[in-house]
Amino acid sequence: MSTEIVSKKIYFVIWASLMVLLFVTWGVAQFDLGLFNSLAALTIAIIKMLLVILYFMHVRYSSRLTWVFAGAGFLWLMIMITLTLSDYTTRGFVRPYNRVLSNWQDKNWNHLPGDKPMEPRPLP
């Protein structure tokens, strides 16, 4: 429920910035930044997303209640990502009690690229 009337100029400015950012995404992809590849891509994506939400979707000019609902959307996305990663980042933290299964996991489980193979911990 926006109360202000947004001038057309702002829409064009936002659109132009989105286009610029699109080329920046492409440009950054031309260089291998190692670990920073994802970081750079995600940063640009988040800026683009914020521009769309704040200006094209009028959240910037909307009531606090709208902000709460828009914020809830992000919070829920974060819940999904965090708890999903709580699985992926902790595989192997708690080792199976069963020695055969544990040894099998050490031999067969793929580790993420760049991971050092885990030191086998003493079993009870």
């Binding site: 209640l65 809830a72 959307g73 829920w76 819940i79 999904m80 708890l83 999903t84 709580s86 699985d87 992926y88 902790t90 595989r91 192997g92 933290f93 708690v94 199976p96």
Partner: protein, 551 residues
């Protein structure tokens, strides 16, 4: 309870046409934007889908009478339980209470003339039907055998059945869910009658508000997940298939991020109905109003952080399993609060056992059993023992049939006089409620036992020692079928021959009872003004009235 107790209705309202007599053409139904008519469109549609899924269940129960697979092929059996699951979950349970009773009642309960976006409301029904018919088409051209969960990589690579059409049908009906949730949220925020503050709202509204939040926040994830599955099947995208660098467990994470909250999409509206029935037939103000209201919100939020309890044996890390296990125990607390508060409402109430109340009491018992066995499943070690057994099947049927279906039936009976303007035959109603309760327990209680003993789910042939439980279960399903058919017959009969109901046959509080039955097109002749708390029942007065009647 009789018609003389009806609240007097302002005269001008009687002049206005009611919503049923306002138009009799097919067009007047298919192009309606009246929330009451859309509620009824949903009612007919979900009964249609329920019937199809119930037939699939009946064939499965027949097959399971004997240990060998002698009635249907194993492949057919796989298609039957997939059909049953998909149709029951997405085309009956999820829309059942919110889209029928919610659509009909939410505007009336808050003193509004319609929902915030009536045209979106109609669009939602069309999307639902498009999705449902697409799913039906997938069944007719050969069916799907993945189970309602569509686990990858089976669904995205190996299954030779029509998974894409089926998933597309669910995808479409998801948009119907989102539109409904959005509509309800905005309606409750913007369209409450003057004086109707948040804490004067009926708990029906609170629960539906919580449900709508889940619909809006969870359903998009289901849509994305199914879309990725379809794209993987069509173009080999490589999100879930390990051969293409994907991860099948990721599908389960995304799927259950929607599908556990979906359980609360089914159960919160049931709690909404029960919170109306219990105080009305106890003639007592509900106990702990704010606790119940906040418990609904707590369920909506906490329901999102427990999904991993479906994945204890999926290869998920044990550490994540432990977190999800603890969180699942926590989500039981608000449900427990509700059960205790309903019970406390009964305490010292002047209870009567009309049909809706029988269903509500049945709900409390069966939901408690379903919820408590859920705690068995949330415990890591026990879950490993009973994963993929009939114990799980029994548990979720206690929640979905014992919970949602019973509450739905209770709600339909309670608001039937409001919807149609006619009373149903009370004695037959009570009989049907009892038959349903007995049939239900006979069907599903033996499944707890055989599940614990090791009977796996989704098998059409089994070891002979389980036969006795299957025979009991099939016998119960037959009785349950009678319990479902009886209301269909006498409710249809009541449309023509039922006693005329007054505006308020139950002497209930709530704005929907202050307008004639059936309600006029615009619900209220004058926008009502709310000055007091909800559930203003007082047993003392009732007792006094009863004594006076006696004398």
């Amino acid at each position: 309870m009789n018609e003389t107790e009806a609240v007097p209705v302002p005269a001008p309202a009687e002049v206005e046409e009611n919503y049923l007599s306002a138009g009799h053409t097919v067009r007047s139904w298919l192009l309606t934007t009246d929330h009451k008519r859309i509620g009824l469109l949903y009612l007919f549609s979900i009964i249609f889908f329920f019937a199809i899924a119930a037939v699939a269940a009946a064939i499965m129960r027949l097959e399971l009478l004997t240990p060998p697979g002698d009635l249907v092929l194993s492949a057919t059996y796989n298609k039957l339980f997939t059909l049953h699951g998909v149709i029951m979950v997405w085309f009956f349970l999820i829309p059942s209470i919110p889209n029928v009773l919610g659509n009909f009642l939410i505007p009336m309960m808050i003193g509004a003339r319609d929902v915030a976006f009536p045209k979106l409301n109609l669009l939602s029904w069309y999307l639902f039907m498009a999705g449902g018919l697409l799913a039906l088409h997938a069944i007719i051209v050969g069916g799907v055998d993945t189970g309602w969960t569509f686990y990858t990589p089976y669904s995205s690579r190996y299954s030779n059945t029509h998974t894409v059409e089926m998933a597309l049908g669910i995808f479409l009906s998801g948009f119907a869910s989102i539109l409904t949730g959005l509509n309800f949220i905005i309606t409750v925020h913007e369209m409450r009658a003057p004086g109707l503050t948040w804490f004067r709202l009926p708990l029906f509204i609170w629960s539906h508000y919580a449900t709508s939040l889940i619909l809006v926040l969870a359903t998009p994830v289901l849509a994305i997940t199914l879309l990725l599955m379809m794209l993987e099947r069509i173009w080999g995208l490589g999100i879930f298939d390990p051969r293409l660098g994907g991860d099948p467990v990721l599908f389960q994470h995304l799927f259950w991020f929607y599908s556990h909250p979906a359980v609360y999409i089914m159960i919160l509206p049931s709690m909404a109905v029960v919170s109306e029935l219990i105080p009305c037939f106890s003639r007592k103000r509900i106990f702990g109003y704010k606790f119940i209201a906040f418990a609904s919100m707590a369920i909506a939020v906490l329901g999102f952080v427990v999904w991993g309890h479906h994945m204890f044996v999926s290869g998920q890390s044990v550490y994540a399993g432990m977190i999800f296990s603890i969180l699942s125990f926590i989500v039981a607390i608000p449900s427990g609060i509700k059960v205790f508060n309903w019970t406390a409402t009964l305490h010292r109430g002047s209870i009567s056992f009309e049909t809706p109340m029988l269903y509500a009491l049945g709900f409390i018992g069966l939901f408690s059993l379903g919820g408590l066995t859920g705690l068995f499943l949330a415990a890591l070690a026990v879950d490993v023992h009973v994963t993929d057994t009939y114990f799980v099947v029994a548990h979720f049927h206690y929640i979905m049939v014992g919970g949602t279906v019973l509450a739905f039936m209770g709600g339909i009976h309670f608001w039937w006089p409001k919807i149609t303007g006619r009373m149903y035959p009370e004695k037959l109603g009570q009989l049907a409620a009892l038959v349903t309760f007995i049939g239900f327990n006979l069907t599903f209680f033996p499944q707890f036992v055989m599940g614990y003993l090791g009977m796996p789910r989704r098998y059409h042939a089994y070891a002979p020692e389980f036969q006795i439980y299957h025979v009991l279960s099939t016998a119960g399903a037959t009785i349950l079928g009678v319990g479902y058919l009886l209301p269909v017959i006498y409710l249809l009969w009541s449309l023509r021959h039922g006693k005329k109901a007054g505006a308020n046959p139950w002497g209930a509080t709530g704005l929907e009872w202050q307008t004639p039955s059936p309600p006029p097109v615009h619900n209220f002749a004058e926008v009502p003004r709310v000055t007091g708390e909800p559930y203003d029942y007082s047993p003392q007065e009732e007792e006094k009235k009863a004594e006076d009647d006696h004398a």
